[in-house]
């Protein structure tokens, strides 16, 4: 399986944020998207997830067969928000996403154990701390199978120990032939991952400063 972008450019609010970006990711590979704030990392990931249309260029997922016809169908998207309801318990949230997303992989309790939340799965999500919430969102990546993980600042709010655990999870995903595209300015602990530097704009201006949405 191979994910390729050719001469991609993206715009927000009528302004071109990045242009002519090309890359390819094969099974078992990770791509780290780096760059200053406003370089378009989030926009790139949202384009990959099919939430935004690219302003120009082409995107393709090849070799996915019938099951994974395009990136949108084949991806997990972990954005800035955790996509969990504060009024439901952690378990209820995860059970819902597993049933909604399909392709069940590990059970909810196994996933919670993997991220170290097995003791508090019965608690409403609203009671959790920022780091615990992020870990619950990471558990969502585990309960349903998707070959492509699109991660936007996945380690935001995690402490050092949880970062290490998450790096282990990502390595496991890559070993099984998955792909990861992660936007981050922190090291993720993935050895041998390729990097895509964004924000070096051709016209020589600095990238516009933009608060991440």
């Amino acid at each position: 399986m191979r994910l390729a972008a050719e001469a991609l450019s993206g715009e927000r609010g009528g302004e071109v944020i990045f242009s002519d970006t090309s890359f390819a990711v094969a099974s078992g590979e990770a791509l780290l998207v780096k760059g200053p704030n406003g370089a378009g990392k989030t926009t790139l990931l949202r384009i990959l997830a099919g939430l935004l249309r690219p302003a120009a260029g082409r995107l393709a997922l090849t070799g996915g067969g019938e099951q994974w016809p395009d990136i949108r169908a084949a991806c997990h998207y972990l954005g800035h928000f955790n996509a969990m309801k504060t009024a439901l318990t952690v378990e209820e949230n995860l059970v819902f996403w597993q049933r909604f997303l399909g392709q069940a992989q590990t059970t909810v309790s196994e996933a919670l154990e993997t991220v170290g939340l097995e003791d508090i799965g019965y608690l409403p999500f609203g009671y959790l701390s920022t780091g615990q919430r992020r870990r619950a969102a990471i558990a969502r990546l585990l309960v349903s199978h998707r070959p492509v993980w699109l991660l936007d600042e996945p380690t935001a709010g995690l402490d050092r120990a949880s970062e290490g655990r998450f790096a282990e999870l990502m390595r496991g995903h890559l070993r099984e032939g998955g792909m990861i595209v992660a936007a981050t300015h922190l090291p993720l602990g993935l050895e041998g991952a390729r990097e895509l530097a964004m924000g070096a704009r051709r016209d020589g201006h600095d990238a516009p400063i933009r608060s991440t949405p």
Binding site: L51, R72, F81, L88, F100, L101
Partner: protein, 220 residues
């Protein structure tokens, strides 16, 4: 999809008092009318169905703007958009509408007969008004979904939803009140208006979620 329905209903019941506020608003609107028009029971009986319908219409618009906004704020909406290939987005919207109706609008229908008593409506009129509300209010929710999807990105879209939706819901109001009046007033027939109301609901059940899905996809 059943999972989505269960989750949404559970949220509607557990997260705060959306349904209670709607019922209260309905109660308050209907209770205030007699202070305006006077306690003449004959007059109240005549305008009863109309008041019930207007009250239910306004009350069912109350929580609508949160229909997609809450999901957008916590990121769930992104995942639902991405899952479009697996669950058609229009279907997702349809299920969300049904759940919203179950949790927030069905209680309104349930208290409608009680409020009809305050309006001195005869038993046949009560039954007819409740039945038309049961059949007609889903149409309002489906139209409302379009408005909610259009303003999903706006920080204070609540009032705007009502402004957008009210003109569109006029046909539902017309045939709802006509049918419930037809059950009591002799010359007016009940069935034709009721069937048109049913048709409106079915029509909007298709159009509303499709348009809302289109709006959501272009919201970003």
């Amino acid at each position: 999809m059943l999972a989505l329905y269960v989750r949404e209903v559970r949220l509607g019941i557990r997260a705060g008092s959306g349904a209670l506020t709607g019922v209260l608003f309905f109660l308050a609107v209907v209770a205030v009318i007699p202070f305006g028009v006077g306690p003449d029971l004959n007059l109240l009986a005549r305008i009863g169905p109309a008041i019930l319908w207007i009250g239910a219409l306004l009350a069912s618009l109350l929580g609508l703007e949160r229909l997609f906004q809450a999901d957008r704020e916590d990121g769930s909406l992104d995942l639902m958009l991405i899952a479009d290939g697996r669950h058609m987005l229009a279907l997702t919207v349809f299920v969300k509408c049904l759940a919203h109706w179950t949790a927030n609008v069905l209680p309104l229908v349930a208290v409608a007969p009680l409020l009809g008593l305050f309006m001195n409506m005869p038993p046949a009129g009560l039954a007819a008004a409740t039945l038309t509300l049961l059949v007609g209010t889903p149409a309002i929710t489906f139209i409302g979904a379009v408005g909610a999807a259009l303003v999903v990105a706006l920080p204070r879209g609540g009032l705007l939803v009502s402004v957008l939706i009210l003109p569109l819901s006029i046909p539902v109001l017309i045939f709802g009140v006509a049918a419930s009046r037809g059950a009591v007033a002799e010359p007016d027939p009940f069935l034709p208006a009721f069937l048109i109301l049913l048709a409106l609901t079915l029509f909007f059940a298709v159009i509303g979620p499709a348009a809302a899905a289109l709006a959501l996809r272009n919201a970003d």
